[in-house]
């Protein structure tokens, strides 16, 4: 009996890895044989980024049980620190693959540090208050990055913090051959687009490994225990602050890595891209995929990211139809019949459905 259950959760994890791998192989084959047109190919890397965003946000929202509305903030920290790392190392490390990997690690570390600093005040709060404060932090991060002017030359990195708004890239006083990486509100311009679909696939797999293994370990149990009952968790000797921080920082770091990949996929990228709407978009993926449900987040991301693109033929009515589809999906999946059906199709889902009746 017990082994059945443990095998079941292990099997769900395995199926998630397998599903992602199969999808990757199919898409790679399609891409190389010309089965995908240009706009479809262009969606591949952003989808990978958003999958990582959704899975990492699920760690905060679904597993830790706190609503975070500033996830895009961590993505932007990762994106711009990743771009700076990749661009300033361009002369030293010619291999784009290695630079991309370094950029993602730098993005993850920077976002992790910011996540830690933000987490100190934020994790003292709960519920609505936490949500509002993360929203504020997301916006603050965006505004701060808008003030950044960064360039690199033979002497290293030059950073100006343009709070007054009077400075321009000329104030960097770059040497001959130096390049401006981030131009304040204009964002990163002239970035080498070194992001690849393969890197996106690897990042997804690493994210899944970290999140899924964490959930099924002592750490994950502690985090879920805090979510289910904070007072009881405290009474069995679990440090609330510590485990909330672990979840929050991990989530931020993964968002940072996704951001770095995202940033290196576009030659021009402004900080305004990572606004409240992006945070909400990712939250929609998480909620529709099911809170705490990792593979659900992946599927919801893929479907909901492609949907607006697929609806292009409806032109003006595109977002209207998108919204209607969202509502219909929520209504449809929330009926008793649908839950029973899902329970039959998907192992491990039955109990959940029966619980909500």
């Amino acid at each position: 009996m017990n082994f059945k259950n443990r095998n079941r959760s292990a099997r769900t994890d395995m199926l998630t890895y397998l599903g992602v791998t199969v999808a990757f192989i199919i898409l790679t084959v399609l891409k190389s044989t010309g089965g995908l047109n240009r706009s479809q190919t262009g969606l591949l890397v952003p989808i990978c980024c958003y999958i990582v965003m959704a899975v990492s946000l699920n760690l905060t929202v679904g597993i830790m049980g706190e609503l975070s509305l500033g996830h895009a903030g961590f993505m932007s920290v990762g994106a711009f620190s990743g771009i700076i790392a990749a661009m300033s190392l361009a002369d030293i490390i010619p291999s784009p693959g290695i630079r991309l990997a370094i950029a993602m690690v730098v993005g993850a570390i920077m976002a992790g540090i910011v996540g830690f600093l933000v987490g100190i005040p934020v994790l003292r709060l709960r519920g609505d208050y936490l949500a509002i404060v993360t929203l504020a932090f997301g916006e603050i991060l965006k505004e701060l990055i808008t003030c950044l002017i960064v360039g690199s030359d033979g002497k290293g990195l030059h950073i100006i913090f343009n709070i007054t708004g009077s400075k321009t890239a000329d104030d960097l006083h770059l040497l001959e051959g130096g390049r401006v990486i981030i131009k304040g509100a204009q964002g990163a311009t002239g970035t080498q687009t070194i992001a690849t679909f393969t890197a996106g696939f690897i990042l997804i797999m690493v994210t899944l490994l970290i999140v899924q293994n964490m959930i099924r370990s002592r750490t994950g149990r502690a985090i879920m225990a805090i979510r289910d009952n904070r007072i009881a968790a405290e009474s069995v000797g679990i440090s609330i602050t510590r485990y909330k921080m672990i979840a929050f920082v991990t989530s931020a770091a993964l968002a940072g890595a996704a951001g770095a990949l995202f940033g290196l996929n576009y030659s021009n990228l402004a900080a305004a891209k990572f606004d409240f709407n992006t945070s909400i978009l990712v939250l929609v993926f998480v909620v529709l995929g099911g809170l705490g449900n990792i593979w659900g987040s992946i599927i919801a991301t893929v479907v909901l990211y492609i949907l607006p693109e697929a609806l292009r033929s409806f032109a003006t009515y595109r977002m209207l139809i998108y919204a209607i589809v969202l509502i219909l999906v929520m209504l449809a999946t929330n009926t008793a019949q649908m839950k029973t059906l899902l329970g039959k199709l998907i192992p491990g889902r039955k109990k959940e459905g029966a619980d909500n009746e």
């Binding site: 490994l209 964490m214 370990s217 002592r218 879920m224 405290e234 000797g237």
Partner: protein, 283 residues
Amino acid sequence: MSKTFTKGKMVAVPSTSIIPERDIGSTPILECRHLGIDFGGLKAVDDFNLTIGRTEIAGLIGPNGAGKTTVFNLLTKVYQPTRGIIMLDGMDTHGKTTEQINRMGIARTFQNIRLFNNLTVEENVKVGLHNQTAYSTATGIFRLPQFWKQEKAAHESAMELLSIFDMQDLADYPAGSLPYGAQRRLEIVRALATNPSLLLLDEPAAGMNPSETAELMENIVKIRDTFQIAVLLIEHDMRLVMGICEGICVLNFGRVIAKGTSEEIQANPTVIEAYLGKKKKED
């Protein structure tokens, strides 16, 4: 290790309390002196003195609103006391947090059940074993050998603990789906998993039928004998309290009105008055 105790002779100890004679040689597990807490102007608990022996099963009773659960919350530092001291195994607990108190050896259950409802029964117990296992987050993520070794050990201890109440078969069910009585028992198992030296049970028999209560009484005694720990319980079921508690403390309006063995308590006029009210004066 396992020793069976019968209800022993109670002897007086300095701090105006009594403990079983067999525990007199060792440091009492719990010693409260002049403990009190105010909520605004209300003295919810005042001048609370209690000493519990190492292997004692003690009872805390009193009418509704007497402050019994508040005492539990003070002992586990959910509330910081306004006055007085709590000594746990001879150590002052001043300034400790709930989490540290648990590590020092107090585990508790709750009057309104607080389980981790979305986790399975086994996972609930494993959360209780949290500080008994010690591998880092990174070890868990990369599934290093320590992870497998300690998870296996945790699984075995969890099953062993569940077997106290014969609950191994329920291991895979979500804790929230269990019937009420089983949820109460699971809370006790989870508390035991933290390896306490003092177990606080807040109305363990609430909502149980007489046969379940009888079984629970046996199990509480069995737990004390097996783990050699002290138990302090709040309970309204007098059959349970009088049946297994050695020392009984009666609380009313936040103050101790009586302390003694079950026989003494039953004969105490103040206690009877607190529960049943004053006898009408005859003209």
